[in-house]
Symmetry: C2
Subunit: 484 residues, 2 copies
Amino acid sequence: MRIAAIGGGVIGGGWIARFLLSGHDVAVFDPHPEAQRIVGEVLANATRAWERLFQAPLPRPGRILWAGSVDEAVRDADYIQESVPERLELKHRIIAEIEAAAPGTALIGSSTSGFKPSELRQGARHPGRILVAHPFNPVYLLPVVEVVGGGAAAERACEILTGIGMKPVRIAREIDAHIGDRLLEAVWREALWLVHDGIATTEEIDDIIRFGFGLRWAQMGLFETYRIAGGEAGMRHFLGQFGPALKWPWTKLMDVPDLDEALIDRIAAQSDAQSGRHSIRALERIRDDNLVGIFQALKANDWGVGQTVRAQEDGFYAREPARAEGYPLRLHQARVSGGWVDYNGHMTEFRYLQVLGDATDAFLIHIGLDADYRAQGRSAYTVETHIRHLAEVKAGELLTVETRLLGHDAKRFRLHHAILRADGSEAATGEHMLLHVDTGAGRAMPMPPALLQALERVAAQDRAPHPDHAGAGIRPIRQREATA
Amino acid sequence: MRIAAIGGGVIGGGWIARFLLSGHDVAVFDPHPEAQRIVGEVLANATRAWERLFQAPLPRPGRILWAGSVDEAVRDADYIQESVPERLELKHRIIAEIEAAAPGTALIGSSTSGFKPSELRQGARHPGRILVAHPFNPVYLLPVVEVVGGGAAAERACEILTGIGMKPVRIAREIDAHIGDRLLEAVWREALWLVHDGIATTEEIDDIIRFGFGLRWAQMGLFETYRIAGGEAGMRHFLGQFGPALKWPWTKLMDVPDLDEALIDRIAAQSDAQSGRHSIRALERIRDDNLVGIFQALKANDWGVGQTVRAQEDGFYAREPARAEGYPLRLHQARVSGGWVDYNGHMTEFRYLQVLGDATDAFLIHIGLDADYRAQGRSAYTVETHIRHLAEVKAGELLTVETRLLGHDAKRFRLHHAILRADGSEAATGEHMLLHVDTGAGRAMPMPPALLQALERVAAQDRAPHPDHAGAGIRPIRQREATA
C-alpha cells in the first residue's frame, strides 16, 4: 500500500512514524524548512516507544521519501493523510492539489480537529473520498482516530487504520470538532475558569485528574465507570440520582472566560512551576514511557488498549512466524521491552527466565500440549532449571531461542534453550526438567501416546552431542582458597 | 489513632477499607439493614486489590467495630469521616450528633461531593474542625482527596490522609462541587448532548476516552499534556493557538439537556449493549485489576500515582523491617502481586527468579555492595543459577527468603536462597554464582578488603552442612527408558 503524508509537524510526524513502523513506505511533502528535523525527532521517539512496547518482532520499517511537491508525494498514493495547519482555505487548496495529481481511487484523510467533512469537501471533484481521520497526540502511541464521513470510503479507511494498530471510531453525524475535542474543550473551559478565579492552580487541577478520574479513564470511559457507580441498581438508577445535578448552578460554562494577558501570564507561570524542571523532550519521554507501561499492564489484563497492542503483536508474528524448520527448533522470539531493563539499561536477571519460560511454552504448543490439552486437567510443570548468564542485552534487542530436547521418559522431558542475540552469539542458556502432571490431583502422570510420539519425533532430530554444561551443577568454590 | 466512619455505602465502605488495611481500627455506624454486607463486599474487593498492588508486607489490618449509634461510634475518635447521603439537612443532623459525643479535638471530614464547608458548618459548635474530604471511587485505590476548609485542622487532616496512602489536594477557595466534579460535570453534560443528538453512542464516547486522552490523563493532567503539545515554543504559544477556539460555537453547554425518559432509555439501552455482558461485580474486579496494573507500571517509572504506591510501600517496610538477625539470613520478603500469576492463578515461573534476584540484591546491600558502591563502576553479576521449583504459590501470599553463603573466593561468591511460604514450607530454592566485576571494562576483578571482610563475617555463621542439592545439576534421563 502506498501512503502519502502532506504536512509533517507533530501530528503529521506521528502519522508518518506510525505508517513507517508498521512497514509502509511514506511519501512526505512539507515545505517547512525544518520539516525533516521535526519528523526525524518524532520518528526517534516513536521508534524508541515501539521497541519498548512490543514483544513481537517489529516489521521492517518502511522508507520515507521526501517529495518536492504535493503532486510528487501523492502521484501513486492509495491513502493520503493531510495534516496542514487548521485554516479552511489552506485545506481546500491542498485538497485541490491532491485531487489534481492523485489516482481517482485514493482516499484522503484529514487530521482536522475542527472542520466537518462537508466543509472539507466544498468544491472537490470526488468529495466522497474525503474524510476526517482525526488522531490524538502522540499519534504513534494513542490508538483512537475519529473517522467522520460515511460510505465505502470510510470502511476502507478504517481497514487501513486498523492495519496500523489504530482504533477507528466512526462518528455517525458530523459536528464541529467531532467528539473527543468537544469533551476536552468542555474540561478546558471549566479549568480556565478555575485558574482564572484562583480556585486552583494548574498543578492542583492536574493532580486531581491524574491521581483521580484520569486513572479510571485510561481503561473505562465515562459511562462504563458510572455504570459501576450505579451498582446493582443499574444505569437507570444512577441516572435518576445524577440527573438532578444538571439543574444545579455548578459550572460557569454558560459564558466564556476572556483569555487575556493576565490569565495567560498566570497559566504560563503556574505551568512553569509545575513542569518547568523537565524539558519538553524529557516530558515526551516520560509520557511515552508511562503510556508504554500502561499499555503493557492492560495487555496483561487483556483489556482496552491492551487488546489493541495484542492484536498488533499477533499481526507482527503472522508476518514473521517463528518457523519450526531445521533443528535446533526456533519456536520463540522476544524483543526486550522497556519495562525489562534495570538501572544499568540491561535486561533484568529474571527476564532471562521469562524468555526461557516462553520458549518452553512454545515447545509445549509444538508437541500438542496447548490450552485445549490443559483444559483436560493435565499440564507440564517445570521442576528444575539451570541458567548460565553469558551476556548483557539492552532494551529493543530481538532475542531468538534455539531449543533442543535432551531426553525424555514416560513422565518427564528435559529441554535445552539457547537465547541468541541478533549476531548469533549466546546471551544465556537454560536447561529445564519438566514433569507431566494431573493438575487436579497435583501428581505426576504418564503422558498419553500422542505426546510421547511428538517427543519421539523431536528426539529423532537431536543427534548432536549434548553441550558440556548439560547436567552440570554450580561448581563449589574451595572455601577461602584465594582470600588469604 | 482512633477512626470513626458514619455511613458505610460504596464511598463510606471504601474509606473504611482504606483505614482498616492501613492498620487502623474503625468504629462504624450505619443504620442501613444491609450495611455489614455492603461494607464486607467493598472490603473484600479492597483486600484483593491491595494484596495484588503492593509487594511490601501489608500492615496487620485494623478491626472493624460496629457501633449501635453515632454517639457510640465517635465517642473516642480522633478522626471522623462522614459519608451519609447528599442532603444538607441530614448532614447537619449527623454533624450535630457527632459534636454532641466526640472529643472536642476530633476532626470531621465530609465526603460531600457538592456542599461547601461553610454550608456544612452552619450551626456547628466547633465549625473550624469541619472539613470537606471528598474522595473518588474506588476510594481504596484512587489516592486523590479534595480537602476544602482551611487552617490547622486541614493540615492535620492532610497528614492523616497521607498516612493512609492518599494524595490530598487542598483547595484554596470553596466552591460548589469543588474541582473534580466540576470537570466531570462539564464532560457529562457534553456527553449527554452527544447521545441525545445521536452523534455517538455511550460505547463510542467511552472508546474515544479510553483509547485516547484518558490514557494521557492517567499520568499527566490537562495542563502538563498541553505543555507538551505547545512544544519548544512553550505554554504561552500553545495558549495563543488554542485560545481562539474558546470563541467558537463548539459546545452546547450554554444550555442543559432535558434528562427525560426517552434519553434515560437510550442511555440505559446503549450501556447494556456496551457492558451488559459483565456483572457489576465483574466490572469492579476488571477495573481494580486494571488500576493495579497501571499503578504498578507507573511505580516502575517512579511517576504520578506510582510514587504514592512506593511511599506507601516504604511505610509498610518501615513498620516491619526485614531483620538480619539469626542465620540463615532473612533479608527479603515479597508479596505475590496480581500481575505475577498465570492463567492457573499460580505464580508464573519467572517470578520465582525475580524473588530470588531481589533476595540476592538484599544480600548485596547487606555486605555493602549497594548503589553507592556500584556508582564507582563495580558490581556483582549473576553468572549461573540453579532453581528447584517445589510448590505453587498464589496471588497475595507473603514469601520470605532465607539466604546462606555457601562459599566465596577473591572474585566470586555462591549463595543459596530458600523461598518459604507463610507456613514455613519451601516453595523453591535457588543456588547462584556471582562474579565481582569492573562494569566499565566488563571484566572480573578481585573484591576490595571491606567486601571480603563482610563475606567472611557471614561465612563464619554458615556452619550447617550444605543442602544435598547444592552443586547438583539436572540429572540426565536415560533416553527412552520408559517410553517403549
